[in-house]
Symmetry: C2
Subunit: 209 residues, 2 copies
């Protein structure tokens, strides 16, 4: 059985739980507290030298890290990865956009507000950085909303790994202080994603049975 080194609060880890659920693949979860250094122990660094969850370990011991690389691999030869080479590259384009222009602002704002707020609020410098991240996060949301105005999903005409990657932190962006009200196309798309067969919520923790 697959082993997912996991954290229920992490949108990056949720991406992996979501695709595994779509694919009806059983897996066991090992939960880590990322706020107390549990992913920086020598034992965990032996599994992932970059010290991050999600980390997926296969039955034969092979290890894959980076949420979007895991998504791409698990989706290979399934309906969740586009067949056409150019559309597949467009999916990767949105997945790199997600990590560089979206996650680093929206996920970090959420983490600061939702998980370590007291520490952030006590620092004027971090509050200013938070405001800068909020502005860049809103820019990412605007890029997404404009694209979704004319497209039901991010690439091709159906739900794919690109949607899973972008859904993970967008659907909890309110926890980072983002108001999604102005982004009507994003809100409609969030509803379409949640209707997909096998969809599970970010809080679902039982998967083995």
């Amino acid at each position: 059985m697959l082993t997912l080194h996991d954290n229920l609060g992490s949108g990056n880890a949720y991406k992996v739980r979501l695709i595994l659920s779509h694919l009806s693949k059983p897996f066991r979860r090992i939960e880590y507290d990322v706020t107390t250094g549990e992913t920086r122990t020598p034992a965990f660094l032996g599994i992932n030298p970059n010290g991050r969850i999600p980390t997926l370990v296969f039955e034969d011991g092979r290890v894959l890290v980076e949420s979007n690389a895991i998504l791409f691999y698990l989706a290979t030869d399934t309906e969740y990865l586009p067949d056409d080479a150019f559309v597949r590259a467009q999916a990767l384009q949105w997945m790199f956009f997600e990590q560089y222009s979206h996650e680093s602002f929206i996920a970090v704002a959420r983490y600061w507000r939702h998980f370590i707020w007291d520490e952030v609020a006590a620092s004027p410098e971090r509050m200013q950085t938070l405001n800068e991240k909020m502005e860049k996060g809103r820019n990412a949301l605007a890029v997404m909303d404009a694209h979704l105005k004319d497209n039901p999903f991010f690439v091709g005409s159906s739900y794919s790994v690109a949607d899973i990657a972008l859904y993970a932190y967008t659907h909890v962006a309110d926890e980072g202080g983002f108001d999604l009200t102005p982004y009507r196309h994003i809100r409609d798309w969030l509803a379409r994603v949640a209707e997909q067969p096998g969809h599970v919520s970010i809080t679902k923790s039982e998967f083995e049975s």
Copy 2:
């Protein structure tokens, strides 16, 4: 002919020039000054709504952005993209590592020191942020060096898109204030990359003929 919306100082854009050179594909370059907002004009945002170079435009008008997605697409069905699905996922793993844990520290430190130093040096907050980025950048270099201790290239046993992605900003890390002397395996790997057929330097600007 392909059109690359480009910037000679950008490692992300260099990745695209490098793979096109390996593949002996002619292309024309349009140079943008990223420090003066040339990639934020309405005309350019019409091509790439996220306002970034590199942006690649194909003869039929299709557009692809995000350097590593472009690399992946151009390398499809060539020796630069691994055939095996798991090895290909490992290449993507390193490419996502590059954008999230390497580029955002090493490339940004280089940009700050090399292109907008006066502005950064005048701000104690930005100098502190720079020091934090340097520390995280050194962490990325340590992860790479440990991996290269036992591997000639990042995935499989040959040069691939993963090496191109990581070479781009690592080989100019000194311009960001990083001393590569302690990273012997990285230095040996940089030399192996520079020996690949079709290798070009980041400063080469003439490609059309």
